[in-house]
């Protein structure tokens, strides 16, 4: 099974992206943003990072069946519930 | 039945059914006392009838668990029981100790019984489910040690299967947790805190391991599904049981003076306690659907499936009904608790012992695998009568509980306890009738073992 290694590996790029997203989450809060936009923004970033973990780190992107939709649904449902609790 | 020493289970099961009938009779007495306040007063006051009812329940279930273990372990370990004589000796010690305790409850006032049995030396009496005199408790510990020793030696010298290991874990856990019943501090809050180590960690912890092991054993024998598959699911189920059940103890610590973080932890984890029961239902139906052969004892398979479903309904659903702290604030110590108690005990533990009795009795009485078709039909009638009447008992008590909570707890003009009790009397009458139907079902169950006839189908065990 020959292996074509694209430099850098996809999982490395995903890792760097998540580090940046995390830094953004922190920076946004440090800059004193608060209230509705902070909550929505930070929550959205968290869900994106979560989806990246599910797809690339857990490797569910390459798995058929209900596993990926289940975890994506979990993230969306949880995100909606938290957003609802913070706003309604 | 491969090993002669498995016959030791027979007296245990017979004693279990005998005590079960006694339990139901006292249950009916109490049910009547709920509606006719002075029935049998002052000869048998309510508290005495209740002690007899609850203690008979626990003792006959213990007899059932011991009988099941004496039947399963030799077959699982593929060797004769270490000492059948010891098993029989312990049987008579336990039966006599139990009978004496019950006679003690009925014959003399409880305070007198406490005096006679030297409760002052080490006071452990007077607490719910643990009303036995201290000397009886010591007798129970002795019987447990002998029982575990007997089984332990059998397992050690024979094959070690997951089913027997899980069963042993459950039984050893049961024995160790019972030791907490000797701890009775003068501080009521501490007393209650550790009292739940005996009660909760039994029925929502180690007893579920015993339930899982027996159900797995019966399913292996009746469905012929590969042992590896069944034991794999058994471990997953009991892992979920302990994961949710241990911290689930918190739902007893809401209102007894313990710190308020238990309201969060207890609610969250006890809310998940129905999951292992749901998995057990899916597991049981799955195994029966994927069965490799049709076992002639269809009654036993019906009991096994019924156990899984009723355990999920009674312990799972009815438990979740009142386990969340905000809800429990109003339903704590009401008829809702009684409703959950009835269906959970019947669904999870009474039915699994009846499953084991229904599966093993024909073989222990010399038949190949099952009773005659006629007797199985009667047994199935007994199954449905008992199960449906228990559902109704639970529904009626839930109705009484909801009304009680609404009138006495939740309303802004709360009414007195006795006033509300009179208002819900209709439910208590209907519960009593359902109880009579239950007794009919139970008697039918006993009768079904005495109906002869050609053995059902020629298929061997």
């Amino acid at each position: 099974m020959t292996k074509t290694l694209s430099i850098p590996r996809p999982c490395t790029r995903i890792w760097l992206l998540m580090m940046v997203l995390t830094f953004i989450t922190w920076a946004v809060a440090q800059l004193g943003l608060s209230g509705q936009w902070l909550i929505l923004g930070v929550l959205a970033i968290a869900l994106v990072k979560g989806q990246l973990v599910v797809d690339h780190f857990m490797g569910l992107r390459r798995v058929r069946g209900f596993w990926r939709p289940l975890l994506t649904g979990y993230l969306l449902l949880l995100g909606a519930a938290l957003a609802g609790a913070f706003f309604l | 039945m491969k090993y002669q020493s498995q016959l030791v289970a027979k007296p245990y099961f017979i004693a279990a059914i005998g005590l079960f009938i006694g339990q139901i009779i006292f249950g009916l007495i109490m049910g009547l006392q709920y509606v006719i306040g002075d029935f049998l007063f002052p000869e048998i006051p309510f508290n005495v009838a209740r002690m007899v009812h609850t203690n008979l329940l626990i003792v006959w279930l213990l007899f059932g668990f011991m009988g099941s273990a004496y039947y399963m372990i030799p077959e699982e370990s593929e060797t004769e029981l270490y000492s059948p004589k010891l098993a029989l000796a312990l049987f008579w010690i336990f039966l006599v100790a139990g009978a004496l305790t019950i006679v003690g409850y009925l014959a003399v006032p409880y305070a007198r019984l406490a005096e006679m049995t030297g409760n002052d030396l080490l006071p452990t009496m007077g607490r719910e489910f643990l009303e036995q005199p201290t000397i009886t408790k010591i007798g129970i510990v002795v019987v447990c040690l002998g029982f575990l020793f007997n089984l332990g030696m059998t397992v050690l010298k024979g094959r070690k299967t997951s089913v027997s290991l899980v069963l042993m874990t459950g039984l050893v856990g049961l024995a160790l947790l019972f030791l907490f019943s000797f701890y009775n501090p003068t501080n009521l809050v501490l007393d209650k805190f550790f009292w739940w180590y005996v009660v909760h960690l039994w029925v929502e912890g180690v007893w579920e391991l015993i339930l899982g092991a027996i159900l797995a054993f019966v399913l292996i024998k009746t469905t012929g599904v590969d042992r590896e598959v069944i034991e794999k699911w058994l471990y997953v189920i009991i892992a979920m049981t302990l994961i949710t059940g241990i911290l689930g103890t918190g739902h007893h610590y809401y209102w007894i003076g313990a710190p308020e973080y238990w309201q969060l932890i207890g609610s969250v984890f006890s809310a998940l306690e129905p999951i292992p029961f749901f998995m057990m239902t899916v597991f049981a139906f799955n195994m029966v659907n994927k069965r490799r052969r049709d076992h002639p004892n269809r009654a036993a398979v019906l009991w096994a499936l019924g156990t899984a479903v009723m355990a999920f309904l009674g312990a799972g659903v009815w438990g979740f009904l009142h386990t969340l702290a905000p809800v429990n604030f109003y339903t704590h110590g009401s008829q809702i608790t009684a409703a959950h108690g009835h269906m959970a005990f019947y669904g999870a533990y009474v039915m699994i012992v009846l499953t084991m009795i229904s599966y093993t009795m024909p073989m222990m009485r010399g038949r190949a695998a099952a009773n005659s078709l006629k007797s199985q039909v009667v047994e199935m009638w007994a199954f449905w009568l008992m199960t449906v009447s228990m559902v109704f008992i639970t529904l009626f008590l839930t109705g009484a509980g909801i009304l009680q909570v609404y009138l006495q707890r939740y309303s802004d003009a709360p009414q007195a306890f006795m006033v509300v009790q009179e208002k819900v009397e209709l439910f208590y009458w209907m519960r009593e009738y359902a109880g009579l139907v239950f007794l009919t079902g139970l008697l039918l169950y006993v009768v079904s073992f005495f109906i002869g006839g050609k053995e059902h189908a020629e298929q061997r065990a």
Partner: protein
């Protein structure tokens, strides 16, 4: 996106690792989801208290811990990639690297706890700290559990216990560790940032 590092001819029907662990990953995700929603609901009836005490938290430590866990998770992905090519020693080195980052997480978190406890904060102080300590300590314990699993797998890998054809154990440990990371990815913004 050109073909990724390793190519699968047919997509497998079940996730990497043992299915039993996935039963528990789903159960753990459910428990944490319930805890998060209950946190958010409890916050609604005294938002000032939650916002006030949230400021007491060391957000930088939270950030550091998030970066540490993400990196540790990445190391585990590299470990799985290594074992799939039969590189058992490289796999176990990646696993030990992930393990040490887990230890770093415990250190940072431990320092935070030490700081809180020294200020007399306990589960019983107030609602915010009840949830903060329950959620983070429950996750803290999961990090320890995950590290125990990673260590066991790393040791077995070191002894050549895994090969290209049989490395389910590595994938099982990896999946559990990713779950622990995923939970923290939500917990950090929820408890440390959102106000």
């Amino acid at each position: 996106m050109n073909s990724t590092a390793t190519v699968y001819d047919t997509q497998p029907k079940s996730p990497p690792g043992d299915l039993a662990i996935w039963v528990f990953i789903l159960a753990e995700l459910l428990v944490f989801a319930v805890l998060f929603v209950v946190y958010a609901m409890a916050r609604r009836n005294n938002i000032e208290l939650f916002n006030l005490h949230q400021l007491q938290l060391d957000r930088a430590a939270g950030l550091a811990n998030t970066l540490v866990l993400i990196t540790s998770s990445y190391f585990v992905v590299r470990a799985v990639a290594a074992i799939r090519e039969g590189e058992t020693q490289r796999c176990s080195r990646w696993l030990w690297a992930a393990f040490s980052l887990g230890a770093l997480f415990l250190l940072i978190k431990g320092a935070e706890y030490q700081h809180h406890f020294s200020m007399g904060v306990t589960l019983r102080s107030n609602d915010f700290y009840l949830f903060y300590l329950s959620l983070t300590f429950f996750h803290f314990m999961h990090v320890i559990m995950g590290m125990v699993i990673l260590a066991a797998v790393a040791l077995k890998a070191q002894r050549g216990g895994y090969s290209v054809s049989e490395h389910t154990g590595v994938e099982t440990g990896a999946s559990y560790w990713h779950m622990v990371d995923l939970v923290w990815l939500i917990l950090f913004p929820l408890v440390y940032v959102m106000h």
